[in-house]
Amino acid sequence: MRTRFQQGLDQLRTRLLRMGGMAEQAVDRACQAYIDRDLNRCHMVLEGESKINEAEREIDELAFDLLAMQQPMAVDLRFILAVTKINSDLERVGDQAVNIAERVMDLVELPKADLPVDIARMAAAASAMVRRSLESFIEGKAELAQAVLEMDNVVDRMRDDAFINLVKTMNERPQVTRQALDSLLVARNLERVADHATNIAEDVIFWVRGADVRHNAPQENPSQEVTPRVPGI
C-alpha cells in the first residue's frame, strides 16, 4: 500500500471539496444578493474570489506533484485528471458568481423594476446542479453524476425563456432596459454555472467509469464500473 500517495489523494479530495463549498457559497450569496438587492453580499462574493483563486492554484500544484512524483495509473490517474478539470470548473463557477455580484451592484443603483424572469428559481436549479455534481464526486457515483447531466436542459430552457421575455420587455418598456439587460446577463451567468456543473459531472463519470461522455461522445468499450478507493469513500 502506498501510504504517502494515498494521503496525497486524500488531501487533494479534501481541498477540492473545500473549494467546491466556497464556489457553491459564492453563487448562493450572489443570487441572494440579486433577490434582496444586497450590496453587502456582493462585497462578500468579490472578497471571496481571491480565496477561490488561491485554492485553485494549491490544488493544481498538489495534483502536479502527485503526477510527477507518484506516476499514478488507472483509477488514480483518472482521479487526478478529473480533479484538475473540476478544479478549473469550480474556479469558473466562482467567476460567474462575481459577474452576478457586479450586475447586482449595477442594479442596486437603478430603480427597482418588475421583470418577467424568475432568477430565484433559476438560481436554485443551477445551485442544485453544482451541489449534486459535488455529491457525485464525494460519493464516487456515476449515476448521481448522470442525473446532473439530465438537469442541464432545464436550466438551458430557463435561460431561453428569460431571453425571450426580457428582450420583449426591453422593446415594450425601454425605461427598464438596463435592469432587463442586467437580469439577462445574470440568467446567462447562471446558465454558465449549470454548464460548469455539467462538466464536473462528466469528469466524475470519467473518473469512476473511465468513460468520456463529453459532447455525447460514442462509447467504445466502456470499462466496467470500478469502485473508487480514495479514503473516506
Binding site: 500500500m1 502506498r2 500517495f5 506516476q71 499514478p72 495509473m73 488507472a74 483509477v75 488514480d76 490517474l77 483518472r78 473511465g210 468499450n221 470499462s223 466496467q224 470500478v226 469502485t227 478507493r229
Partner: protein
C-alpha cells in the same frame, strides 16, 4: 521480420508445483508485448516456455500449445531449432567474459557452423548497429573483452549477440533492472526501433517501462493470465479489479 506467437492452454510445472495455469494469448508480430505481475506470478516462467528454456530446469515441464509463426514448438520441434528463432536477453548482462566484443556477437553464428569471415564481420557490425552499440565499440571490437564494458553496454552487447542469429522473436526478461536510467533509456529506445523487425516480449517489474515501450500488456497473477489488452487500456481503464489493484500499488 517478426512473427506472431499463439499460446493455447499452456501449463507449466516445477516438479509437482504448477507455475502456469491454462495460459492462452495471441502475441502480435512486430510489436512489443509487456508481461507484468508481482514476483512469483509466473512471468519469467511464461517467457521461458516460449523458447523451451523452462524444460532445462530439472523436474520442470510444460504442456499446451505454443506456435511461433508456423512453428509448433512443443510438437516434435527440436529445442535448438526453437531457440535459433527466438533470442533471449536476461536480467543480468551475461557476455562471455573471456571473449572479445566481436567474438561475443559472432559466437552464436560460429556455434552454428558459420565461418564466412567477411559475411560474419558484416553481421557483427549490423547487429551492433541494431543494438545501438556500434559507435561506442567499433574501434575496440577485437581488443576489448565483453566484460570490460559498462553494465548498459554489456546488456546491449547481449542484445547484439541475440540479434546476430537473426531471430524472429526477442524475449527480454527484466533487461533493465540492473541498469541506470540512462542505459535504461537507451535499451527502451532500442526496443522501440527493434519492433520494426522483431516481435518483442518483455518481462518487467517497472510499469512505467511497460507503458513506455509496449503496445500490449499481459498481467499475470499466481500463474494465471488475468488480463491481456492494449497497454493504454491496461494502464488507464483495466477491466479486472486485480489488475487495477496491482498497477495502482495496492498490492504486490
Amino acid at each position: 521480420m517478426g512473427v506472431g506467437i499463439k499460446v493455447e492452454h499452456l501449463d507449466a510445472w516445477f516438479g509437482k508445483v504448477q507455475a502456469l495455469h491454462d495460459i492462452s494469448m495471441d502475441i502480435p508480430a512486430n510489436h512489443a508485448t509487456a508481461i507484468i505481475g508481482p514476483s512469483g506470478c509466473g512471468k519469467s516462467t511464461f517467457v521461458r516456455c516460449l523458447n523451451r528454456m523452462h524444460e532445462t530446469i530439472p523436474d520442470a515441464r510444460a504442456a499446451g500449445k505454443v506456435r511461433i509463426g508456423d512453428l509448433d514448438i512443443y510438437n516434435g520441434t527440436a529445442a535448438v531449432q526453437v531457440r535459433r528463432r527466438i533470442g533471449m536477453v536476461f536480467q543480468k548482462p551475461n557476455p562471455f567474459p573471456t571473449m572479445s566484443i566481436y567474438d561475443n556477437v559472432a559466437a552464436g553464428l560460429k556455434l552454428n557452423g558459420f565461418h564466412d569471415r567477411k559475411r560474419l564481420a558484416e553481421i557483427v557490425e549490423h547487429s551492433l548497429k541494431l543494438s545501438a552499440l556500434w559507435d561506442e565499440v567499433k574501434d575496440s571490437l577485437k581488443k576489448k573483452s565483453g566484460a570490460s564494458l559498462s553494465g548498459g553496454q554489456q546488456q546491449r552487447l547481449c542484445i547484439a549477440r541475440a540479434l546476430a542469429v537473426e531471430p524472429e522473436v526477442l524475449l527480454m526478461d527484466e533487461p533493465c533492472s540492473a541498469l541506470d536510467p540512462i542505459s535504461t533509456g537507451k535499451i527502451e529506445e532500442l526496443i522501440f526501433q527493434l519492433k520494426e523487425n522483431f516481435t518483442i516480449v518483455i518481462v518487467t517489474h517497472n510499469m512505467q517501462q511497460a507503458s513506455r515501450v509496449a503496445e500490449f500488456t499481459g498481467f499475470f497473477l499466481l500463474g494465471k493470465l488475468i488480463e491481456f489488452d492494449r497497454t493504454e487500456k491496461i494502464f488507464t481503464t483495466p477491466s479486472d479489479k486485480r489488475t487495477e489493484d496491482y498497477i495502482t500499488g495496492r498490492f504486490g
